[in-house]
């Protein structure tokens, strides 16, 4: 085939080629790559970029018959309605409350768990705990919520059994607004802590052991070694994951909140994504729902960019 000859002549002789010339040349040589990528390109155009164009809905009064383009513009009316709505601050408070709470609890716990596991002296126990700890991650949200309602049953749930043993009264956990966030967050910790710890465990394994040997000879205790050797070494990993988590601050998992939500705990369990679903698909208020969803995405993006910039300035570590 002549292909080998072509790839050998990669270097252009003499003058610099223009962009279009280079593109033409590249197309000739790498056309199979373009063919391979074509289905992906079509997929992204249809399922990611066409919906992005659909965001126009947020500024329109959508009429099914007229389509997206034909519907009349309403400017920022949907946004104004959302911001001045009776439940705007409630939604914001619930959404941010749940995500900040889970970040504040789940994030450090994963790190602590990884370090403790790393320093565990019984190898068999270590392997068992590790293997068992990430099993819950693969259980579906539906099953998790079903299990929660079993364990939190007001009559015979195990949590109430324990409460009764301690002399406290039974609580219908899932029906009390005040419990919702804690249930959401701590069941999330149970489900995700082993999984989130994996990445720290692998970066802890990469810590240069000579440093530890030197520290041991100098008489450092394990806690001192953790504080002065391990934590500084895994700091870049920690910061990267923190930025990524911050970028998802406003995207609390819809599924789990939706599944745990009921009329009784509605005051604390209604978040932006469940609201978008309700007004959009249940009430068919398409334009308004799109506007609320867009607001959510933009805040997320803003937090991500801010977190990334701050992290880069402060520590030199960043996602991009």
């Amino acid at each position: 085939m002549g292909k080998t000859a072509v790839s050998k002549r990669k270097q252009p002789e003499g003058r610099k080629k223009s962009f279009w010339e280079r593109l033409k040349y590249d197309m000739k040589r790498n056309w199979p790559l373009c063919v391979m990528f074509l289905p992906v390109l079509i997929y992204y155009i249809i399922f990611s970029y066409t919906p992005m164009y659909g965001i126009l809905l947020a500024f329109k009064d959508y009429k099914v018959k007229k389509g997206i383009l034909g519907s009349p513009w309403v400017g920022f009316e949907h946004f104004e309605r959302f911001f001045s709505g009776y439940n705007f601050w409630g939604l914001m408070k619930n959404t941010l409350g749940i995500s900040v709470y889970s970040l504040a609890v789940g994030f450090p716990i994963a790190i602590i768990f990884a370090i403790m596991l790393h320093y565990l002296t019984m190898n068999k126990l270590k392997k068992t705990v590790q293997m068992v700890s990430y099993a819950p991650y693969f259980i579906s949200t539906v099953v998790i919520c079903g299990m929660l309602s079993i364990f939190m049953d007001p009559v015979n749930g195990v949590f109430n059994t324990v409460r009764n043993l301690l002399g406290m009264e039974s609580v219908g956990f899932l029906g009390v607004p005040g419990w919702f966030k804690s249930i959401y967050v701590w069941s999330g910790v149970w489900q995700g802590m082993g999984w989130s710890a994996i990445i720290y465990i692998s970066s802890l394994a990469g810590v240069d052991y000579e440093m530890h040997e030197a520290a041991i000879i100098d008489g450092a205790t394990k806690l001192q070694r953790i504080r002065h050797i391990d934590l500084p070494t895994i700091q870049p990993t920690i910061i990267m994951l923190l930025i990524m988590n911050l970028g998802n601050l406003m995207s609390v998992g819809f599924e789990k909140v939706y599944l745990l939500q009921n009329d009784l705990n509605f005051a604390t369990s209604d978040i932006i994504s469940t609201y978008v679903y309700r007004v959009g698909l249940v009430n068919s208020d398409f334009g308004y729902s799109t506007a609320v969803g867009l607001f959510n995405t933009l805040i997320n993006l803003l937090i991500l960019v801010t977190a990334n910039t701050v992290a880069r300035k402060a520590t030199g570590e960043s996602l991009w």
Binding site: T4, S7, K10, R22, D26, N30, L33, C34, M36, F37, P39, V40, Y44, I46, F47, S48, P51, M52, G54, L57, M116, Y119, L120, T121, N123, L125, T128, V132, S133, P136, F138, I139, S140, T141, V142, V143, G146, M147, I150, F151, N156, I198, S202, Y209, I216, G219, T221, K222, T237, G247, E255, L259, V276, G280, L281, S289, T290, G293, T297, L301
Partner: protein, 307 residues
């Protein structure tokens, strides 16, 4: 000393001893917290519903019975759900894998001029999307609502998985192989299918598992796009079973005597179905889990390498 396992080296200071003992204690408690809820569901599914209801079942099955499983076998909706979910998982994962390779391989080729442009195009979709309604409208326009395609096509590609595969292609497949294949006259397609993919089995396994688990556990997609009873996945059926048990229990509290009798029967059925249906939902995963869990870990590590 060098040959010894690193963390076996114990220093003898009292504070370290204390640390170790505390650590072991915490881990044993954690082990219990991780295992017991799952264990409870298993033993409750084999126990008499009344014993479970009365809170007698704690560590072992009480009044061993298979009644719950008999009810499960008779419950038609579960089987429809199972059939659909197996189909969605197998076909969906196949589509996912094809798309992922087709996306990851070109993006791993440094000599492709369009690479950076398309890379950016894909990355944008990770952080920004049209949202619920615009996506729904696109699917409606394509007449995908209430079809099996809605369960598999909109989620045909997860870019985070593409990044894992791509960084494996870049970091673990030696570039000389490409030169060699080129010399032998193998085209890019041949090179991809005969050289790259066979060499990437570990990462393929990982990503395949990620996709399969996602399909198996998917509830959201069906909630939004599927209302046809013949097409709903297992998770939707599970949700109904679990909810009906709860709602019957609630209405029992404030029902009259005669109605309560009838409800008690319903309640019994719902109670015994509750645990067995959870088992039905997680058992395929739990069987596969010990064999595949080492791959999951590998996947996180591969994904952590910046491409």
């Amino acid at each position: 000393m060098v040959k010894r396992k690193k963390h076996r080296i114990l220093s003898n200071s009292p504070s370290d001893r204390l640390f170790d003992i505390f650590n072991i204690a915490v881990m044993i408690v954690l082990l219990f917290i991780f295992v017991w809820p799952l264990w409870f569901v298993v033993i409750a599914s084999f126990s008499d519903p009344y014993a479970v209801w009365a809170g007698k079942v704690l560590l072992w099955p009480v009044d061993f019975t298979l009644k719950g499983y008999q009810e499960l076998v008779k419950y038609r909706a579960i089987w429809i759900g199972y059939r659909n979910t197996i189909f969605y998982t197998v076909a969906g994962t196949l589509i996912n894998m094809i798309m992922t390779v087709l996306c990851a391989y070109p993006l791993s080729r440094k000599d492709w001029m369009l690479r950076n442009f398309f890379m950016k195009m894909c990355l944008i979709t990770m952080y920004f999307n049209g949202g619920l309604i615009p996506t729904y409208l696109v699917l409606r326009r394509l007449h995908m609502i209430n079809t099996v395609w809605a369960m598999m096509i909109p989620c045909a590609l997860a870019f985070s998985n593409v990044l894992i595969v791509r960084s494996y292609f870049i970091n673990s497949i030696p570039g000389e192989l490409f030169e060699a294949a080129n010399m032998d006259g193998a085209g890019p397609f041949q090179y991809l299918f005969k050289v790259v993919i066979p060499l990437s089995k570990p990462v393929m396994a990982v990503v395949c598992l990620y996709y399969a688990v996602a399909h198996w556990n998917d509830y959201y997609t069906a909630l939004i796009y599927i209302s046809n009873r013949e097409l709903v996945p297992l998770q939707t059926v599970l949700r109904e079973v679990l909810m009906s048990a709860a709602s019957i229990a609630e209405s029992m509290h404030n029902a009259s005597e005669s109605a309560a009798m009838l409800m008690q029967q319903k309640q019994e059925l719902a109670q015994s179905l509750k645990y067995t249906s959870i088992i039905a939902g997680i058992v395929p995963m739990m069987i596969a889990y010990p064999f595949v869990q080492k791959y999951f870990v590998k996947g996180v590590m591969v994904g952590a390498i910046k491409g």
